[in-house]
């Protein structure tokens, strides 16, 4: 079926397996293409249509709950003119060339970028396919393509009665040279049939009947299951194990030692865990056995006293502060946080002499591939990443440490092995959201107007480790995201970043990244200033936002919907936050009640969102709901602490998730907008922290400057 003579120039259609493939220099299948395409090329291997007219859409980004597969399929289907009931989704293989994230380069799902990055490329990919199908039909009929139109997977002759289904056109369309993606006409927004209309997620059916296969559900013939124990002290090594005792457990086959861990390989996880217990592992704890939280905080506090790298400096801050009538200073602290994805870390690996297969749910397939290649010494092409739907990412699966551990175990095992982390391993060997120690100062003039603002962030730099080229003269752009470009017009502003790496503790991206940290700090301190100026928190913000209509728009909508200003009973209060992050404007009002014992009950979260053009509105609402609960959970309960070089938390009894009986209802209201789409996966998470603590202030007069909220401070007796 595939005819090499059909190979045209780059960007072409080829008949592949009796179908049509939109691709770049594409040979016979996306898998082969992945291996052969030149690096850095724009993505376009997204659509295959077979003779039955089924459109297979290859998803460039990972689905971890954010609904991106449905949204990306909507973009493709809109321009291709097929119904979503005519499409089949497929996960992309590892390939930066074909499926790289245009905003990052590599194939990486993160930073709330998937819509922003693929909004145009996927529509173009769909439009290229549609253009060629129209052309193929026009040629068959001997008419001008302009006299044809596409609809629901068929081409119609506009004035006549003839029509052909896409399935009947794929062979002909496959012989036509494809236009450049940028050259094809995209639909006018007013003609959208799919984009902007709520559409049920395509991945739901398998998630309600147990048929969805996550990485942890991998089944390979001959596969064994391994339980793993990583040195409880960061950086430690296994010293001794009772191998005999482990092997005496029924179903246990093998005990494997790696540089940092011990794994027990068995028929099933029950036996593997029993074997791991029996192995009575002794650890060589190494140099980190005395690391503890108090020392880490002391180190940060000291470091934060001296200047860092300047992220932004405008106006004469010193002078303005010196001339201010009132001057405020504050220190804000945010804890280490674990991701605690619902699907614990796991990875299945089969290392063979000349190939390696990895079954996993990952946000970074190509990084996973490179990692396995480096460890095994195999060429990258010999490593196949079988990606899966992910049972929660939140940034955890932007890291490949779990894949490294699994490959090291699999290198010593004959046949495929699935390495599963216990929840305790998952929490104690996460890579954590950094601990941040922020110093701020600001001045008000006699009329209560803000005259200057300074903010020094001190903490670990994830960028410096993960993407060193992203550092800007010592400033981690993530470390100051939300701090250096607040939505407000400050007459003078000075923002610094001070990189302080904690001993031993690995740090990483966490849902909401820099914005989640800084928006809490900025929006809290703004609230302090409003209180100092005896101004209403909303009015105080509005006065600083007159240049920023979209920020004003969401603030006005959220406060209207929340009934801002209406009186509340004792020990109840409303708190507000405003932000611009991930390309999306948001305002949030939290309504809380603080018991006399200090317990905080959040009654309601009202969110107003201006994320520009919407793809799937109901998914946006779902991301607001989930994002807010994720943030609220952390603000209320989340803290990873260290003692004797070990993480003190282990399971959901010590690292508390919010549960059904605790969560408020999240209301989402939209500001309609025709601006380019913004990111939604993390905005709610960032917004909720200060809305909560500002509401607690309104209810009790107590300012929360250290997270998580310490309810002991809120007792009234």
């Amino acid at each position: 079926m595939f005819d090499r003579s059909l190979r045209l120039n780059r960007r072409n259609f080829l008949a592949a397996g009796g179908g049509l493939v939109v691709a770049l220099s594409l040979p016979s299948s996306p898998r082969r293409a992945a291996a052969q395409a030149s690096p850095g090329f724009a993505p376009n291997a997204f659509i295959r249509i077979d003779r039955q007219g089924i459109a297979t859409m290859v998803m460039p980004m990972a689905e971890m709950g954010q609904g991106i597969h449905t949204a990306h399929a909507m973009l493709l289907a809109e321009e291709l003119d097929v119904g979503l009931d005519q499409v089949r989704l497929e996960l992309s293989p590892a390939s930066d060339a074909l499926y790289g994230n245009p905003l990052f380069g590599p194939q990486s799902t993160g930073g709330s970028t998937s819509i922003r990055a693929f909004w145009m490329p996927l529509r173009q990919a769909g439009a290229v396919a549609r253009t060629l199908l129209l052309e193929a039909a026009a040629q068959k009929w001997g008419v001008d393509p302009k006299t044809c139109r596409a609809e629901s997977g068929s081409v119609f002759e506009t004035s006549g009665s003839r029509h052909l289904a896409y399935g009947q056109l794929v062979d002909a369309a496959g012989t036509l040279p494809a236009p450049a993606p940028e050259s094809v006409a995209l639909k006018d927004r007013k003609d959208f049939k799919i984009i902007g209309k709520p559409h049920r997620r395509l991945d739901t059916p398998g998630k309600v009947n147990g048929t969805t296969v996550f990485g942890i559900d991998t089944k390979i013939p001959g596969m064994k299951i391994a339980a793993i124990a990583i040195s409880p002290v960061f950086g430690g090594k296994p010293k001794s194990v009772d191998e005999k005792a482990a092997l005496a457990v029924r179903g246990v086959h093998q005990v494997v030692l790696t540089d940092q861990a011990v794994a027990v390989v068995a028929d099933h996880m029950g036996a593997a865990k029993k074997g791991l217990d029996a192995a009575a592992i002794q650890w060589d704890e190494g140099p980190n056995a005395t690391v503890n939280s108090a020392d880490i905080i002391r180190q940060l506090k000291e470091a934060s006293k001296t200047p860092g790298a300047v992220a932004r400096s405008e106006g004469d801050v010193e002078k303005a502060l010196a001339g201010a009538t009132r001057r405020l200073e504050a220190v804000y602290q945010l804890p280490f946080l674990a991701h605690a994805t619902m699907e614990p870390m796991n990875c299945t690996v089969h290392v063979k002499k000349d190939a390696c297969d990895v079954w996993v749910g990952t946000q970074v397939p190509t990084m996973a591939q490179t990692t396995a290649a480096q460890l095994t010494g195999l060429p990258v092409e010999a490593v196949t990443i079988h990606n899966h739907l992910i049972g929660g990412g939140f940034g955890r699966r932007l890291e490949v440490d779990g894949i490294e551990h699994a490959v090291k175990v699999a290198q010593q095992v004959d046949g495929p092995v699935k390495v599963i982390w216990s929840r305790e391993e998952d929490i104690q060997h996460d890579m954590y959201r950094p601990y941040y120690y922020d110093r701020l100062s600001a001045g008000l003039d006699a009329s209560g107007k803000l005259v200057a603002w300074t903010h020094r962030v001190s903490g670990s730099s994830v960028t410096a480790r993960y993407f060193p080229a992203g550092m800007q003269n010592g400033v981690d752009p993530d470390g100051v995201e939300g701090a250096d470009q607040p939505p407000y017009a400050f007459p003078a502003i000075h923002v610094e970043f001070k990189r302080v790496e904690p001993p031993a503790v690995p740090t990483a991206w966490w849902r909401g990244v820099g914005a989640t940290h800084n928006i809490f700090v900025v929006e809290s301190f703004i609230d302090e200033l409003a209180a100092a100026a005896k101004a209403d928190p909303v009015e105080f913000r509005k006065a600083l936002l007159s240049h920023n209509p979209r920020a004003l728009g969401v603030l006005t909508l959220a406060t209207q919907k929340a009934g801002w200003g209406a009186p509340m009973p004792q020990r109840q209060g409303r708190g507000v936050s405003v932000q611009f992050a991930f390309g999306t404007y948001m305002a949030t009002v939290a309504e809380v009640e603080v018991g006399t014992d200090g317990t905080v009950k959040v009654h309601r979260l009202v969110c107003a969102v201006d994320c520009g053009l919407q793809v799937n509105p109901d998914t946006i609402a779902a991301q607001m709901e989930g994002g807010c609960i994720f943030g609220l959970t952390a603000a209320s309960h989340g803290a990873i602490t260290l003692k004797d070089g070990r993480v003190e938390q282990g399971n959901f009894d010590t690292y508390l998730p919010m549960r059904m009986d605790e969560v408020p209802v999240v209301e989402t209201h939209f500001v309609n907008s025709a601006e380019a789409p913004g990111g939604m996966g993390e905005a709610g998470t960032a917004a909720v922290f200060p809305a909560l603590t500002n509401a607690i202030f309104a209810a009790t007069g107590k300012r929360i400057r250290t997270l998580p909220v310490d309810t002991k401070l809120l007792k009234s007796i």
Binding site: M64, G65, Q66, R200, R201, D203, T204, K207, V208, N209, G210, T211, T212, V213, I216, K219, I225, R250, G251, D267, H268, M269, G270, A271, K273, K274, A340, T341, M342, E343, P344, L389, I390, G391, G392, G393, F394, S422, R423, T619, A622, E625, G626, G627, C628, I629, F630, T633, N651, F652, D653, P657, M658, R659, M660, D661, E662, V663, V665, V666
Partner: protein, 150 residues
């Protein structure tokens, strides 16, 4: 030593220690991966199955404790009227995000509806607070349970 366990109407003979949690027998021995591992400690509900119609945590249920009882898992809950209605309302309201917790959520909800056909919000809090959802789908779960009884 083998154990016979009746799961979704079929008796399976399992060769594993009697204290092996049902969760791992389902997932690793029988290959029924719809039931999920979340905490292994009875703290998250991801592994919820029914034992004679009662919601139990499979990670806390040794296989030798099952005896003659019937186990029902997510793979078969759609054959009960409550399970079927819940699955449909879960689809109608787009409840799942990552979906990993949802097998357990539906199993807990199905047991709730079997015992309490018209649950109040307080009933839902009581029955569902053992089930963690890190994606924060709780308000849709609540709405979907109500919808399934409408």
């Amino acid at each position: 030593m083998t154990t016979n366990i009746k799961i979704n109407g079929t008796v399976h003979t399992v060769d594993a220690d009697g204290d092996t949690p049902l969760l791992w027998v389902l997932r690793d021995v029988l290959g029924m991966t719809g039931t999920k591992f979340g905490c292994g400690a009875g703290l998250c509900g991801a592994c919820t199955v029914h034992l004679d119609g009662q919601a139990v945590r499979a990670c806390q249920t040794p296989i030798d404790s099952v005896g003659e009882s019937s186990i029902t898992t997510i793979e078969a809950i759609g054959e009960t009227p409550q399970g079927k209605a819940l699955q449909q309302s879960w689809i109608d309201l787009d409840v799942p995000q990552c979906g990993y917790c949802q097998s357990g959520q539906i199993m807990s909800a199905a047991a709730l509806l079997a015992a309490t056909p018209k649950p109040t919000d307080a009933d839902i809090d009581a029955a569902m607070s053992g089930n963690v959802c890190r994606c924060g789908t709780y308000q849709r779960i609540r709405a979907a349970i109500h919808r399934a009884t409408a």
